[in-house]
């Protein structure tokens, strides 16, 4: 079946201005890095360099931590809670005003479809600031005792899959609870964080309350190990999460970690099949599958497996992959060459281990990094593609006969971030939800996010929650 022909519907990029190079944001100002080094950031949809980004070294990180400490001691901790909240409200409003600009810049730097950055990421970013703004003067009701205290200076390290959304998940609760921040964006997606620095300036946020140091893993490690940091908040791979847990052992630093996942998406035979198929597609192909909570293991009840797969293949043939700036695009570019190599490697392993690979006919653009939506059938529990996080648009399909077997397979992973359940029977949904060892369960829906809804994993998917009342606990020391 051929997809309908669509005329190109390109979002204009004239709304964004990208500088030739970006400095670090320390103590309210953009400052040249002490390292003197810059690295390129590219548009993954074209492979072309967008700009040069400063690489923060130990001296730069030290300056940022000191600025954050001074801002904490002299300004931020002295401000009344409701005044602090008003800064967050201001930031939320400016983000709404400049939403389109952020969405376009995010799509250029990350490769995700404009439809997602415009309709999901950036609206949620503003919502996160608005939500947490309202908490600032209500922390006695956060559930961690009366008069809870902030940690002080928080080091935050965020990934490239939702650059601005992850910034919001980290910065908004940290500021609302009275902490100051040194944030390190991912090295492939620094641009929106640096635009956010401008928002902080426009909001009149006191200097040093938010500092942004750009760079790669080495910059992040320096931040984690800096003695002036009181708390670490990290979103990224489980491997790096374990390194951080090891690095802070024996120190007073605490950490929240949002790590990997290998979510089961369970389709029972009494599910509404067409809706479930939409849920499967949303679960694994949303954001190119660059989602820690992606529904990457489809567990479908054996007696409906053929029907589900047939419908899934038809639906997948209508997915539009291409220019992320096109408003009709469903799947954009893979974020980096390194990530593309990893997806290819694991997919090759899937074939080598005997699973059957299928993709719809799909023309990939020649420049940039692309991977066609892919499913593997005949997958067994021991296959790498059923165990390891691929972080790409690749779905492993397994089957089950009984609900008990579905639970056993779903829980048979060191991860425990999320899971999906599709059934029209309420009692079965609640039974399944109670048995799944995962922090976020989507029943008859998938990949829904909200600032009021706690997010985070069991087991090796991390420590703590982000969002909701529970997310505040991550940034507060218990009161009396």
């Amino acid at each position: 079946m051929n997809p309908f022909e669509y005329a190109p519907a390109l979002e204009s990029t004239s709304i964004v201005t990208i500088a030739e190079r970006y400095k670090l944001f320390i103590n309210g100002k953009f400052v040249a890095p002490r390292s003197g080094k810059y690295f390129p950031t590219i548009n993954p949809a074209t492979g072309k360099t967008l700009s040069q980004i400063a690489e923060a070294n130990a001296a730069d990180v030290d300056l940022a931590v000191k600025a954050a400490r001074e801002a904490y001691a002299k300004v931020w901790s002295k401000l009344s809670a409701s005044e602090r909240g008003k800064y967050l409200f201001r930031i939320a409003r400016i983000l709404q005003e400049r939403a389109r600009e952020f969405a376009v810049l995010e799509t250029l730097d990350n490769g995700k479809p404009i439809r997602e950055s415009r309709d999901t990421d950036i609206p949620l970013v503003a919502a996160h600031f608005f939500y947490h703004a309202g908490w600032a003067d209500k922390l006695n009701f956060a559930g961690v005792g009366e008069q809870p205290k902030p940690y002080g200076v928080v080091g935050q390290i965020i990934p490239w899959n939702f650059p601005m959304l992850m910034l919001a998940w980290k910065v908004a609760p940290a500021l609302a609870t009275g902490n100051t921040v040194v944030l390190k964006p991912a090295e492939t997606t620094s641009l929106t964080a640096l635009l956010f620095a401008e928002v902080c300036q426009q909001a009149g946020l006191p200097a040093g309350v938010v500092n942004i140091v750009t760079g790669a893993g080495a910059t992040g490690a320096t931040l984690v190990n800096h003695p002036g940091i009181d708390k670490i908040a990290f979103t990224g791979s489980t491997d790096v999460g374990k390194l951080i847990a090891t690095a802070i052992a024996g120190t007073k630093k605490s950490a929240t970690l949002e790590l990997g996942g290998k979510a089961a998406n369970i389709i029972y035979d009494d599910a509404a099949i067409d809706e479930a198929v939409e849920g499967i597609v949303n679960g694994i192909f949303f954001n190119q599958g660059h989602v820690c909570c992606a529904g990457s293991r489809l567990l479908v009840q054996e007696n409906i497996a053929d029907e589900v797969l047939e419908k899934l293949k038809v639906r997948m043939s209508h997915i539009r992959l291409g220019n992320p700036l096109d408003k009709n695009t469903d799947i954009g570019a893979i974020n980096s060459a390194a990530q593309l190599a990893k997806i290819r490697e694991l997919s090759a392993a899937g074939e080598a281990e005997g699973a059957e690979r299928w993709s719809p006919p799909c023309e990939l653009p020649t420049d940039g990094f692309w991977f066609a939506p892919t499913i593997f059938t005949g997958v067994s529990q021991t296959h790498r593609i059923a165990r390891e996080e691929i972080f790409g648009p690749v779905l492993s399909v397994l089957t089950f006969r009984t609900p008990q077997e579905a639970i056993e397979k779903a829980n048979n992973t060191p991860y425990g971030l999320s899971a999906g359940i599709w059934s029209e029977k309420g009692s079965k949904i609640l039974w399944t939800a109670s048995k799944l060892r995962a922090g976020v369960i989507w029943a008859n829906t998938f990949n829904k996010f909200d600032p009021a809804s706690p997010f985070g994993g069991y087991k090796e998917s991390g420590w703590g929650r982000e969002g909701g009342r529970h997310g505040l606990a991550a940034y507060l020391k218990a009161g009396k």
Binding site: G439, V440, P454, K459
Partner: protein, 287 residues
């Protein structure tokens, strides 16, 4: 503690202090014991010096008990904790004697400690069916979804119980961990292990299912690294570990991202929530 020969001249029947694993009281598979002396230095007993294998057996027992205990009704769990309190009250005399001998405190102070331990158990018994109300929430998401968060037990928790007051620390640690549905592997205070075994005898007769609490005696510095690196232990109450042991446990525990907590408050709902995970469920609203 009884004296070896009582004033009446009768030879007392002394207790053999063994481990408590899976509802039974085995000796250490290693055959090792260590001498426990009273505060004056007189030999009291030879409790087991538990080995790595004993720890692993205890984890197997705790893991096997987890599905049943965590899915028991909170009402049922609360009643069992209350039952433990009832039996603890009845065993006061023996525990007072042990605490006097070990901690070198007066009988009056030991009696107070036992009473406080009973009251602590009663307090935690009452939390079993309330902690989800306190720790959970319904969340107003901006869309047609019903969204709620609820705390769930984390799984198997290793407890390194702090030394003095030996009984109260032990009872508070155990009760805060199991009231929510976790199962536990307890390493009793190395210096004051005897009340832990006597308390195990109470647990064994309180309708507490076998394996929900397992108690080892022995060396914390020997057992802590094995517990920290054990991949089927989800969390550690490290309140009784030294700073060095804590750091080493945090390093080893990073292998499976164990939740390692230290708490100095014996009676706090936050102590219960320390060993719970928050689960959030979304469901669409529509017709």
């Amino acid at each position: 503690m009884k004296m070896a020969i009582s004033p009446s001249g009768r030879i007392d029947v002394l207790k053999t202090y063994k481990l408590f694993i899976g509802g039974a009281f085995p000796r250490s598979e290693s055959g090792r014991v260590y001498s426990i002396k009273d505060f004056k230095g007189t030999h009291l007993a030879n409790p087991s010096l538990a080995s790595r294998k004993d720890l692993r057996d205890a984890v197997v027992a705790a893991r096997s008990a987890f599905p049943g205990w965590s899915s028991a009704t909170a009402y049922n769990r609360g009643q069992i904790l209350y039952r433990m309190a009832e039996l603890l009250e009845g065993r006061s005399e023996q525990l007072v004697a042990e605490l006097v001998a070990l901690e070198g405190i007066t009988a009056r102070a030991a009696g107070t400690q036992v009473q406080q331990s009973v009251d602590l158990l009663v307090w935690y018994a009452g939390w079993s069916d309330k902690i989800a109300t306190l720790g959970g929430s319904t969340n107003c998401v901006s869309g047609p979804y019903y969204n709620f968060s609820t705390p769930e037990p984390i799984g198997v928790v290793a407890i390194f119980s702090a030394a003095k007051p030996a009984l109260r620390n032990l009872v508070g640690a155990i009760a805060s961990v199991i009231t929510s549905g976790n199962t536990a592997v307890v390493v009793a205070s190395e210096k004051f292990p005897l009340p832990a075994i006597t308390f195990s005898e109470i647990m064994a007769t309180s309708d507490l299912p076998a394996g929900v609490v397992n108690v080892l005696t022995g060396s914390s510095s020997e057992l802590a690294p094995w517990a920290a690196s054990h991949m089927d232990i989800d969390a550690i109450d490290a309140s009784g570990l030294t700073p060095k042991q804590l750091k080493d446990s945090q390093v080893a525990g990073a292998q499976n991202l164990k939740r390692i907590r230290v708490s100095d408050e014996l009676d706090s709902p936050l102590r219960i929530l320390n060993f719970m995970e928050i689960k959030t469920v979304w469901h669409p609203i529509g017709i």
